[in-house]
């Protein structure tokens, strides 16, 4: 009974938050709506990392590649198969999930360095693969056109607001599902496995299968985020998914606190804010082309190290440190 009311409370909370986002989306300009869509997309991608790393203890550097898989699946569904964009996003989720499942059978059972290195290899090699198959469109990639917002929303419903609605709604629904999953039997099993694998096995948890499950779900979430990303930039190409994207997601996850889904939006905000901050720094002090291009990467990495060193369990840790 208690559990039921907790689930209900969470649903209400998410609906309330969604309504709040809706109100905010009505009151800000197009740039903010566009940035808000990116926050939602990054938040979803970071949530997929938190599920994998924070809850099941596996470290992946290949989420940029998993996002790319979802992105290509989504783009091909709209561009070549002429499916509805929403269906394309669902396809993106499932294709990336399936890819994660297959990969998961191979590597997800492996621990520590093996999974990290293998996913790194994936992230480095997948974009260059995309160049070699004509159907994937080479460097130009494949277009993803989400289409104009439905006419019933009225004349002044802008494209950016439409982006914002789709991204926020997709992220909200997905994260709500994951939050429910994590407060269920699965969530407890994940945590048990992360904290003590042997003890988890003793209680009858099939850790091998559970790791594959976590990897699959995480891949599906990343695929949806990838689909959203190419919707926002209206097309998918290999260069949209560099290795540094994986690092950014990891930074977002560590900054939010990798062991809790609660503050996950903070990570999305940080990832959207960093290029802005870098821009304003460059505007103020100037700098060479190399400085301008690498400053965001520098900030992301510095933040990653700082977060690991000083607040590995999230910013909440800094606040209650006094005890």
């Amino acid at each position: 009974m208690h559990n039921f009311s907790a689930t209900k409370k969470r649903l209400l909370l998410f609906i309330l938050f969604g309504w709040l986002l809706l109100l905010v989306g009505d009151r800000v300009g197009e740039l903010r709506q566009y940035q808000g869509s990116f926050v939602a997309m990054y938040t979803l991608a970071i949530a997929s990392i938190i599920l994998l790393t924070g809850y099941s203890g596996q470290l992946s550097l290949g989420h940029s590649a998993l996002m790319a898989v979802g992105a290509y699946a989504g783009a091909l569904s709209t561009n070549n198969a002429h499916l509805h964009p929403v269906i394309a996003l669902i396809i993106a989720t499932f294709v990336a999930g399936l890819f994660g499942l297959i990969l998961g059978f191979g590597v997800a059972r492996l621990s520590g360095p093996y999974l990290a290195g293998t996913t790194l290899a994936l992230a480095v090699s997948l974009p260059s693969l995309a160049n070699q198959f004509p159907i994937l469109g080479g460097e130009q990639g494949v277009a993803f056109d989400v289409g104009a917002p439905p006419a019933r929303f009225g004349e002044d419903f802008s494209q950016y607001k439409w982006f914002f609605w789709i991204s926020s709604l997709a992220a909200l629904i997905m994260i709500w599902l994951i939050a429910n999953l994590l407060s269920s039997k699965y969530g407890r099993s994940f945590r048990a496995m992360r904290d003590n694998q042997v003890a988890a096995q003793l209680t009858g948890i099939n850790t091998g299968r559970l790791k594959v499950t976590a990897f699959t779900i995480s891949a599906g979430m990343a695929g949806l985020a990838g689909g959203l990303l190419v919707m926002l930039i209206s097309g998918v190409s290999p260069s949209a998914f560099p290795l540094s994207l994986s690092f950014s997601l990891l930074t977002g996850a560590v900054v939010t606190g990798v062991y809790s889904l609660k503050g996950v939006m903070l990570g999305g905000l940080v990832l959207v804010a960093i290029p802005e901050i870098a821009d304003s720094v460059v505007n103020r002090i100037g700098g060479s082309e190399g400085f301008t291009a690498t400053l965001p990467g520098f900030l992301v990495s510095a933040l990653l190290i700082a977060a690991v060193l000083f607040a590995p369990n999230g910013p909440g840790q800094l606040l209650k440190k006094k005890h």
């Binding site: 520590g112 290195g117 190399g290």
Partner: protein, 298 residues
């Protein structure tokens, strides 16, 4: 036949460069139990240092030696002033499992950004000290040049020196003992922390050498060594992550597999080949083909 000979020679050359990278990764893994993803950054940074020295002094060889020295110094400094504080600071909670790896990733990003600040994102070149025109065999030019031969010789000498160091000196014994069992090594009076820093220094030097031997056949830019890091990792996994011999043998397996696939099947298959080999090894024998894990209890 000519194609076969060329493929063998190219495999040996690329395999030997992978071997330097996998050796660097294994040296750090043995001493610290961390896959040092920053190795790609260290290697490319030392190669940039070598590049600067070559520009100023005009000699590739001075640049090569400076790059190796710089690689060792940077490697040792990273262990002493970056990794050691992290291990000291983070001792509890599940974060212990991922913090060191995450730290090396952050370091990789920082190093590559610093290179971008200093040298920009443009492609630089390092001219090879000897000819890169292929040898002529039976009147036709093959894809194996004096420079490739030089790479092969340099790597062979390095590997021989490393083997001597590990097998014939007290320092090598200390290195092996600390890798095998840090606790027992400590009990027998080995300064394990210092030995670990030495492992990082050796790895850094190997990375610097890898960069200086790799870049003349391609370009120098901040991400130049990322691919080599991946191949080095795959080679190290084939070899079992723990053994230096395995690292070299794994690199050769990978070099041969990649070059034979690309010259006999399709030149597009570099990454698929490497990735499939990695997955196969992980599925069939995750401890590595050349691993001697049986006799050990860790």
């Amino acid at each position: 036949m000519l194609k076969f000979i060329t493929a063998v020679l190219t495999s040996l050359t690329t395999g030997s460069i992978y071997a330097l990278m996998s050796t660097a990764l294994v040296l750090v893994w043995r001493s610290t139990r961390v896959i040092n993803f920053a190795q790609a950054g260290q290697a490319v940074l030392t190669t940039y240092i070598g590049y600067e020295v070559i520009v100023r002094s005009g000699s590739y060889w001075v640049g090569l030696i400076m790059a190796i020295v710089a690689g060792a110094v940077i490697g040792a400094a990273i262990d002493r002033f970056f990794m050691r504080p992290i291990f000291k600071r983070i001792t509890t909670g599940p974060i212990v499992m991922i913090a060191p790896v995450v730290a090396t990733l952050g370091l990789l990003g920082i190093v590559q950004a610093i290179i971008g600040f200093k040298w920009g994102l443009t492609y630089q070149t390092i001219a090879a000290p000897v000819s890169t025109d292929g040898y002529r065999i039976f009147g036709s030019v093959i894809a194996f040049s004096p420079f490739n031969l030089m790479v092969l010789v340099c790597v062979t000498i390095t590997m021989l020196l490393l083997t001597l160091l590990f097998q014939k000196t007290n320092l090598g014994l200390a290195l092996r003992a600390s890798a095998h069992s840090p606790e027992i090594a400590k009990l027998s009076g080995i300064k394990v922390d210092g030995i670990r820093t030495l492992g990082w220094a050796l790895a850094g030097a190997a990375g610097g050498l890898a960069g200086m031997l790799f870049v003349p056949s391609t370009y120098l830019y901040p991400n130049a060594m990322d691919v080599l890091l991946v191949f080095g990792f795959i080679a190290a996994v084939i070899g079992g992550l723990d053994s230096l011999f395995g690292a070299v043998a794994g690199a050769m397996v990978l070099g041969f597999a990649i070059n034979f696939t690309t010259s006999y099947v399709s030149s597009r298959l570099v990454f698929p080949t490497a990735f499939i080999i990695l997955i196969l090894v992980l599925l069939i024998k995750p401890a590595g083909i050349f691993s001697n894990k049986k006799g050990r209890r860790d």
